[in-house]
């Protein structure tokens, strides 16, 4: 009962904030709304006993919001940031995309009988342990590949920022 109430409070908060992200005319407001969405989703993760994921959600995505606000401030070319995000008028295209994604998810859920893991007794601890077992044992190669990809992106960013000296 308590869980259901908490779920609806934070689910509604997350969806309302997401609505704010797309409709806000001020792009900085959009970014702050996005932070609220992330926080709401983090609470939903907690309700699903994925506490590690919830903490990582806050740690990583909140930091991303900071960076996004700075990008918004630096890259906005309009004179006033209050009117910085006016291209939100293409409702038809957006609604079509959203409807397609919704239909896709609904089809997956309705047609596959075994899409969810059968309910098991929750051991009460160790979501971080379980994730580390999966990442560093079962799926070690994809995990390392992702790490290399991120390192490459980092090196690329450094080279782009620093510039390469042309040899004569």
């Amino acid at each position: 009962m308590g869980t259901t109430i908490v779920f609806f409070i934070f689910a509604i908060m997350a969806v309302a904030a997401a609505w704010g992200v797309v409709t806000s005319k001020n792009i900085v407001h959009s970014a702050f709304f996005l932070a609220l969405t992330f926080a709401g989703v983090a609470v939903l993760y907690v309700l699903l006993n994925a506490d590690f994921l919830a903490a990582v959600q806050l740690l990583v995505y909140m930091g991303a919001v900071n960076i996004m606000v700075i990008f918004a401030v630096m890259l906005t070319l309009r004179g006033d940031v209050k009117e910085s995000s006016l291209e939100t008028k293409k409702w038809g295209l957006g609604a079509l995309g959203a409807a397609l994604v919704f239909i896709m998810i609904a089809l997956v859920i309705l047609t596959n009988a075994d899409w969810r893991i059968p309910a098991q007794a929750w051991s009460g601890q160790g979501s971080a342990l379980a994730i580390s077992e999966l990442m560093l044992k079962s799926y070690m190669v994809p995990f390392e590949a992702a790490a290399i990809l991120l390192t490459l992106a980092l090196v690329g960013a450094v080279i782009l920022a620093k510039g390469v000296k042309e040899s004569k």
Partner: protein, 350 residues
């Protein structure tokens, strides 16, 4: 002494006993509310005491008396200042982003409240005992960057915005060595739970095994709470007061409460992770040991603030990315090697 040590636990059990079923939802709810109230009292008390202490330490460091007019040796000065703040006008700048401007100080105040709620203050005295205590602490304290940016943005003033930008650059950079320095302790104890980490230090505090991690965390922790020599965010001589420039009265007071709350939380986490938390020789109760250690760390932070000049911004970034980050990675490597050798020796010996 044992009785004194268990006094808070016995009081808690007595309050629970008032309910028919000591573990009913209402008993749990009451205990949680009491815990939260105690944490708020702790933050307000800490701010009242620490602001005065800061000025006294500042006086001591620069060889002047510090506040000395009100009450015995000036000890009532902060109370008078707080009362003065209550009476000030609450000004919102005409061009401010009103909602963001008003909500930012509340977030700044709420965050140390949330982090201090998971610290073990004594044996069995954790307001909310989480399995992922460290990760939770780091996740919550990461939001304070966003709160400072909101204050900087919402004020709609150049100085505030510059302060907010500096806050993001500095706090995101220092978060990385901060998190990596804690990994060594987690590797040794194999747990994220703060109360279990304190229990693991019953024989030897981790500052002895992890001295490098302690130094890294201490430096990065000072940078995270934006204190001198890392106070570029609110550098008075350059950008007035950074994100706090446009705030007045009690809203400005909330920033102050949040700042000293954050400082207390950082000192409490250092105590928990490296100094053995409430563990100590048996002639004092655990909670006294805890606050004694927190006090020593806070005194060190104040001493550093009044001793070192402010860093230049490029030196600040260089320290985080070129010194602290490699050192913290080295610490992780050394700890891993140490654990491996230790297990190998155990296997040979056993």
């Amino acid at each position: 002494m044992d009785a004194l040590n268990k006094l808070p636990l016995n009081i808690a059990a007595a309050i629970r006993g008032l309910f028919g079923d000591p573990h009913s939802i209402w008993a749990d709810l009451t205990m949680t509310v009491i815990g939260i109230i105690l944490v708020i009292v702790l933050i307000v008390l800490a701010a009242l005491i620490l602001i005065l202490l800061e000025r006294k330490v500042g006086g001591w460091a620069s060889q002047r008396p510090g506040p000395n007019r009100l009450g015995p040796r000036g000890w009532f000065q902060t109370i008078a200042d707080a009362l003065k703040l209550l009476g000030k006008e609450d000004v919102t700048p005409a061009e401010a982003d009103r909602f963001i401007f008003k909500i930012a100080p509340m977030i700044v105040f709420a965050l140390p409240m949330m982090t201090l709620a998971v610290i073990p203050y004594g044996m069995g005295m954790v307001p909310i005992d989480l399995d992922l205590g460290i990760i939770y602490y780091l996740a919550i304290s990461a939001i304070s960057t966003l709160a400072l940016l909101m204050a900087g943005w919402g004020s709609n003033s150049n100085y505030s915005m510059l302060g907010g930008m500096r806050a993001v650059a500095q706090m995101i950079s220092y978060e990385i060595p901060l998190i990596f320095s804690l990994l060594g302790v987690v590797m040794i104890t194999q747990t994220f739970s703060l109360s279990k980490i304190v229990e693991a230090q019953s024989t030897i505090p981790f500052i002895v095994i992890q001295p490098l991690a302690f130094v890294i965390y201490f430096i990065a922790g000072i940078a995270e709470v934006n204190r001198a020599p890392f106070d570029l965010v609110e550098a008075d001589q350059e950008i007035v007061a950074g994100p706090f420039t446009e705030y007045t009265g009690l809203r400005w007071g909330l920033f102050f409460l949040g700042e000293y709350g954050n400082m207390t939380a950082t000192a409490a986490l250092i105590t928990t992770m490296f100094l053995g938390g409430w563990q100590g020789p048996g002639f004092l109760p655990g909670i006294v040991w805890f606050f004694l250690k927190v006090g020593i760390i806070i005194f060190l932070m104040m001493w550093i603030r009044w001793t070192f000049p402010r860093m230049r911004v490029d030196h600040l970034m260089g320290l985080a990315w070129k010194v602290l980050l490699p050192l913290s990675l080295l610490n992780v490597l050394l700890t891993g090697l140490g654990i491996y050798i230790y297990q190998y020796v155990l296997r040979i010996g056993g």
